[in-house]
């Protein structure tokens, strides 16, 4: 009798043990439903600063007026209050959506976007940043909080493909080190953006391409440019700082095409250039073709303002090297990112900001 009881007690015990193990395994699985971030060498790494990800206007004021100690203390006092979204927030959400679609089609691939928070902030501010990331459930698992040290070395360590910051000095440094980078600006109005498709708009000269044509316009005028471009139509332009980022986007797009998802591709790219299709457009398209790159829509404005067209496109980010285009886009609600590269930085519209070393030319440069 006791033997039967013993054995049934043992059976009961082992059943309980098995149940417990299964429950624990299920719970452990629940904890790790987050997908593992890809290895940096496989991923398209986008580094965002804290001020592009979140809007910290008030806190910035505290930093400027009261110093770093008060600034950090302020964040620590408000640690559980999530920060408001910043200029790069919609871009990050759109990247996350692309990743979900990629994971559906290629569950074992590491060719994904990897979003890294790259901030100069002190690690104690980092706690509030992590809490805010948790609040919005953003897919950001990697970060560098350098407590004031330069982020450039870390950008390289993460094999960063694109760096977004509100600090133009850091952005310039990154570009000089060969890393695609842009200074982000918060638009003046909020407009509705697609939540199923990442839309990226690029200016051409001094962004995707080098500034060689910009130099001609600034120094010799628009007509000289048109003649020059027709003459050199078949010679590819040299590459600009954002060319490699377009390339990375193209590579991910082709993964969707390979699965017959061209019409439903969650990435769309735009070229928005002041060039005119008739006179200087061909060289641009031929250059892209020679690089093996595609752009979904090429829009030649022939000098017309970019703002209204961008409002129609509604990109999650628009890259341009000239601040007056950025201002125009911002005013109408487009999220703009300035690429501080090339000769355009020395001019405000068509007026020279600083004297060049070359002798002055007779013709006054026309606005491009």
């Amino acid at each position: 009798m006791s033997e039967i009881k013993d054995s049934s007690a043992k059976a009961e015990e082992s059943r309980t043990e098995k149940d417990w193990k299964e429950a624990k395994a299920a719970f452990d699985n629940l904890k790790s439903t987050k997908p593992r971030p890809p290895k940096p060498q496989n991923a398209v790494t986008i580094a965002v600063s804290s001020r592009t990800l979140f809007s910290m206007v008030w806190e910035r004021k505290v930093f400027k007026e009261e110093g770093v100690e008060k600034y950090v203390a302020h964040h620590m006092d408000h640690e559980d209050e999530p920060l408001k979204p910043g200029a790069a927030f919609p871009f990050v959400k759109a990247l996350m959506n692309v990743n979900s679609r990629l994971r559906e089609l290629y569950p074992d691939s590491e060719e994904l976007f990897d979003i890294v928070l790259m901030t100069n902030n002190h690690a104690q501010v980092g706690v509030r940043l992590i809490n805010s990331i948790n609040h919005y459930d953003l897919a950001i698992e990697r970060f560098c909080m350098t407590g004031g040290q330069s982020p450039i070395g870390y950008l390289k360590a993460y094999m960063t493909n694109l760096y977004l910051s509100t600090d133009s000095k850091k952005v310039k440094e990154a570009i000089e080190e060969g890393i695609a980078a842009a200074t982000m600006f918060l638009p003046e109005k909020e407009i509705a953006l697609s939540d199923t498709q990442l839309k990226v708009a690029f200016d051409g000269d001094a962004v995707l391409f080098s500034d060689e044509s910009e130099i001609i316009v600034k120094q010799h005028g628009l007509d000289a440019l048109f003649e020059h471009e027709k003459q050199f139509e078949n010679k590819p332009l040299a590459q600009g700082p954002l060319k490699c980022f377009l390339e990375a986007l193209g590579k991910l797009q082709r993964k969707f095409y390979a699965k017959n998802e061209r019409l439903n591709c969650p990435i769309r790219t735009y070229l928005v250039t002041a060039r005119s299709a008739a006179s200087s457009g061909a060289r641009v398209l031929k250059t892209l073709r020679s690089w093996g790159l595609e752009i979904d829509e090429a829009l030649f404005l022939a000098g017309a303002p970019k703002g209204p067209l961008l409002l129609k496109i509604r990109p999650h980010i628009f890259f341009d090297d000239q601040m007056f285009h950025i201002e125009g886009a911002k005013e109408m609600g487009t999220i703009s990112a300035h690429v501080p590269y090339g000769i355009g930085q020395k001019y405000n519209k068509s007026k020279l900001i600083e004297q060049p070393e070359q002798p002055a030319k007779k013709e006054s440069p026309k606005k491009i």
């Binding site: 987050k34 593992r36 971030p37 290895k39 940096p40 110093g67 770093v68 100690e69 950090v72 002190h122 690690a123 104690q124 980092g126 706690v127 992590i130 809490n131 990331i133 948790n134 950001i140 698992e141 990697r142 970060f143 560098c144 909080m145 350098t146 407590g147 040290q149 070395g153 870390y154 390289k156 360590a157 993460y158």
Partner: protein
């Protein structure tokens, strides 16, 4: 056997005793000159000294200072003991104690001298010390030799947040009290003028693991200045940018692999 440098004696109740091997500070090259050449840990020693200088500048009566013990286990170097002492004088290194031991009983020496952190370039030595409950860190070319003005300490967060299953090993106790003392030193300075920078790196897990480590260190009175959450990205490139003087792993320092 230990020789004391009387003028540099620190208050035993408050000082943070750090032992470094002379092999790490002076290297093993046999120089014909009177003094040894600078070794891997030379910049580290200078950084420790700078922290002391800043502490004393703020408060000339400060007792919470680093007390440096130079340990020689290398028998060749032991024969050159006068040269070791004169070399430290030559470079202006403030060494409170010179200890000469064999490989067999150097750990006894560490314990007798109340050493709170042992720094060596020899993995075996560091491992032996840890097993006897002395917090140790392994020095190599990625650490120690950083020429930074600030003393840069890096905590390996994965070890910091390990659950307390069973009795706490003595080396972990040692790590906790050492980090609490570092935290105490940090509080003597403001963020913008600190000669000491405390970093945290986490490898396993994601942002939540790093957040846990930040909170844990905070609860021990350590204010982390820089944090790096790797989420399994390779740490070599990150470490070569951060360049800590030493890495603490809540027990045995030195990342495996």
């Amino acid at each position: 056997m230990c020789w004391f440098s009387f003028s540099l004696q620190k208050d035993a109740d408050h000082a943070v005793v750090i032992a470094v091997t002379s092999r790490a500070v002076f290297g093993s090259g046999a120089d014909d000159d009177e003094v040894y050449g600078e070794g891997l840990a030379f910049p580290l020693l200078q950084a420790l000294q700078r922290v002391n200088e800043h502490l004393l500048m703020n408060n000339p009566a400060e007792l919470l200072l680093f007390d440096i013990v130079l340990l020689t286990t290398d028998s060749q170097q032991q024969q050159q003991s006068p040269r070791i002492i004169s070399s430290t004088r030559h470079y202006g290194l403030e060494v409170g104690r010179f200890c000469f031991s064999s490989e067999e009983d150097f750990v006894e020496n560490l314990l007798k001298n109340n050493v709170q952190l042992f720094l060596s370039t020899d993995r075996n030595e560091a491992s032996q010390a840890t097993q006897r409950g002395v917090l140790s860190a392994l020095l190599d070319h990625q650490t120690a030799s950083c020429p930074s003005e600030q003393l840069k300490v890096l905590f390996f967060g994965d070890a910091v947040i390990q659950p307390d299953t069973g009795p706490t090993p003595p080396s972990r106790q040692a790590a906790r009290s050492f980090s609490a003392q570092l935290g105490e030193m940090q509080r003597r300075f403001t963020m913008s003028d600190s000669p000491l920078s405390i970093g945290l790196v986490t490898w396993r897990g994601g942002r939540d693991s790093c957040a846990d480590a930040l909170h844990t260190l905070r609860s021990r009175g350590v204010r982390v200045d820089e944090a790096y959450c790797l989420a399994e990205a390779p740490w070599g490139p990150i470490l070569s940018v951060f360049r800590p003087h030493f890495l603490l792993s809540d027990g045995f320092g030195g990342l495996e692999g």
